[in-house]
């Protein structure tokens, strides 16, 4: 059993956050709320999404696992106007998802969850650098790096956080000291390099006004955690690094 009503904006930004890495995913619903865990086909990027039950206008669910074609679902939810409420209901007879947006009814066939890429195990990582900063700062660093290269570094050194990219012609570097970010903890210096292909699409899902907690290590995955719509949903990204030639 699954029956819920949700604000279209929250639903849209949740889809966008997951769509960075996958075109289809398993959606878990239970009495606590809705959650998604998915990894991209290259096993490089992972997303965890949690939308707690009380972020919905109404929410009722037994344990269910829905296989969702995200591209199609995104198109349908794209029909909603700002402020619309989207009603979702799993039809127990047909196993299809009934979607209702302001008089528009759409019945969406679900995918067999077994046919979808296995949900990943989340690696347990000890990342020495932790910085909290505005989404806008990260997005700005990613955008500037994309102008000169196809990869960029996140790092901490001397009580500051930096983003940098070296192209074959030009270089970019953003330094943010302890005082220029919301908070910074660094047990030791750390630096890892990442593909901008991934970061640029992640950047589109990171709200500028969100507070992002970024964890960085040396040649280790980066973790980014932030909230959507002022706390109605939690997103966590994990991205594997490009290992540098020492």
């Amino acid at each position: 059993m699954f029956q819920a009503k949700i604000n279209a904006g929250l639903l849209q930004s949740s889809i966008d956050a997951v769509g960075v890495f996958v075109d289809e995913c398993k959606v878990r619903v239970d009495s606590e709320g809705l959650s998604v865990k998915a990894v991209d086909p290259a096993n490089v990027g992972m997303v965890e999404l949690d939308v707690p039950a009380d972020s919905f206008d109404s929410f009722e669910a037994d344990d269910e696992l829905l296989g969702l074609n995200l591209t199609k679902f995104d198109d349908i939810i794209g029909m909603a106007k700002a402020g619309d409420v989207v009603a979702l209901e799993l039809d127990p007879e047909t196993g299809k998802l009934k979607i209702q947006i302001d008089g528009l009814r759409y019945t969406l066939s679900l995918i067999d969850p077994e046919s979808i890429h296995q949900e990943p195990n989340v690696p347990d990582l000890d990342l020495p650098g932790e910085v909290v900063l505005a989404g806008a700062e990260i997005n700005r660093g990613i955008k500037a790096s994309g102008m000169v290269s196809d990869h960029m570094a996140f790092g901490v050194e001397d009580k500051s956080f930096y983003m940098s990219a070296e192209g074959d012609q030009d270089d970019v570097r953003v330094d943010l000291t302890e005082d220029e970010v919301i908070s910074l903890t660094a047990e030791e210096d750390a630096r890892s390099l990442f593909s901008l292909d991934y970061l640029e699409s992640m950047s589109k899902a990171i709200p500028s006004d969100a507070q992002v907690t970024l964890y960085v290590g040396s040649d280790f995955p980066v973790r980014m955690e932030f909230e959507l719509q002022g706390g109605d949903a939690d997103v966590s990204y994990l991205l594997a690094p490009r290992i540098e030639n020492e």
Partner: protein
């Protein structure tokens, strides 16, 4: 054997001798082209009907979408027609630059102007397509316009071509034999071009054969079928077949080790480094001052590179162009053969001896054939290994291997690092942590 020894044995020899030879050859080819001109004048004088065996076709790109399109026939009637069509056989027989140029310039291109949409009922285009589809060269008689243009010339940038003549009409002098798979693809107007091309390749046609059919508008959904200029079609087919193989190898187990291969051909030295992990590919080109396509005025090596990650490319490359797709195809074919996926870096050093463009096929073949012969790990304990082209060697890690190879490249490690995404860093997976 140790990778260091292996690579040392590959050091270029006789470079100076080759360069001198190249200078001499460029005069020889001009002489040859004059001969072709004379021979051709004799053949067509007073008689505008020209008959010989056509091994191939040509579609020009000037004035697109109204292009020149024709059948290619050797000028000398006793010549072996199949020997004149570009194929992997040219590599196998060790053809050199001047051999290729003399074959190319000996072909008469009897052509007509045509809309690329291939209007129905144009007999000339149908005959052209039959020549392209045939498994063997076909006897064709062409009615030529009275005034053929027999001016052949050689310049630094364009691949030299043979004489052109304007065709009024053409006729098949024999019934061409068309492979069943090709007939099926030609006849199915609901089949997407990429899928049909993949099918032909799986049925054993080489990319050269697929390209000829593709170029004459023989593949694809009926209303979308177009003449595709030869130059574009070569890279399009490398890309289509490459994507087809890419899909196959993406689910293969990882190679799990590092291997280095070397080969050289026509002044091109090529290293292929395969490494552990998921598919990732890069081509880095280093072109000597004085070689073809080096636009740098400062007398330095010109560098270009392009790469893709596990999921492949979505946009055409900015640098390296056709060589990217040709070399990627060679690597993908090898991985498909051994049932593995890997990270692959192709380093192509173009020497001064590469003095005239012969077409991107030589890049495809030098990479394809780099994997021939015993593999490195089988040879590791064999002290007799001569390290000749085609032998692979093992190394500790991907970056160790490229570092070793870098000693023999014509550019510094610093420049390589600036230009090469993969030399700089390789993508890890979440499973590695």
């Amino acid at each position: 054997m140790d990778l260091g020894d292996y690579v040392r044995e590959l050091e270029p020899t006789e470079e100076r001798r080759k360069r001198e030879l190249a200078r001499k050859k460029s005069y020889e080819i001009l002489d040859h082209m004059e001969d072709v001109e004379n021979e051709f004048s004799e053949v067509v004088q007073g008689d505008s009907l020209y008959g010989s065996t056509a091994p191939s076709v040509f579609v020009g790109r000037s004035n697109y979408p109204r292009v020149n399109t024709g059948v290619l026939q050797p000028v000398a009637s006793e010549a072996d027609a199949s020997d004149h069509a570009t194929s992997s056989d040219w590599y196998g027989r060790g053809l050199e630059i001047d051999d290729v140029l003399s074959r190319r310039t000996s072909l008469l291109n009897s052509r007509r102007k045509a809309e690329v949409t291939r209007p129905k009922g144009e007999r000339f285009l149908e005959i052209q397509q039959e020549v392209a589809a045939a498994s063997e060269p076909v006897d064709v008689e062409v009615q030529l316009d009275g005034s053929p243009d027999i001016d052949v010339s050689l310049d630094a940038l364009r691949t030299p071509t043979g004489p052109n003549a304007r065709a009024v009409d053409a006729d098949l002098a024999e019934n061409p034999s068309v492979p069943r798979a090709v007939e099926k693809a030609l006849g199915d107007g609901d089949w997407k071009a990429a899928d049909a091309a993949g099918y032909l390749y799986e049925k054993g046609l080489d990319v050269y054969d697929v390209q000829r059919v593709f170029s004459t508008g023989g593949l694809g959904v009926e209303d979308d079928r177009r003449l595709v200029p030869t130059r574009w079609s070569i890279t399009a087919v490398d890309d289509i077949i490459g994507k087809h193989l890419h899909q196959e190898i993406q689910t293969n187990p990882e190679l799990g080790e590092t291997r280095v291969y070397y080969n050289e051909y026509m002044g091109n030295r090529v290293w292929v480094v395969l490494g552990a992990g998921r598919w990732e590919f890069e081509l880095v080109e280093m072109k000597a001052p004085g070689s073809v396509w080096n636009p740098r005025p400062d007398g330095e090596y010109y560098m270009a590179s392009a790469s893709e990650g596990y999921g492949g490319r979505t946009q055409y490359v900015d640098e390296t162009s056709g060589a990217y797709y040709a070399s990627r195809l060679g690597v993908l074919e090898h991985l498909d053969d051994i049932g593995r996926q890997a990270k692959a870096l192709v380093l192509r050093a173009v020497g001064e001896e590469y003095w005239a463009p012969v077409g991107v096929w030589h890049v495809r073949e030098v990479v394809r054939n780099a994997f021939d012969g015993p593999l490195g790990w089988e040879e590791a304990s064999d002290t007799d290994d001569t390290g000749e082209a085609g032998r692979g060697a093992e190394a500790e890690s991907f970056h160790d291997a490229v570092d070793e190879v870098a000693d023999y490249l014509p550019v510094s490690r610093e420049r390589l690092r600036q230009k090469s995404t993969m030399y700089n860093a390789v993508q890890s997976g979440l499973g590695d942590f």
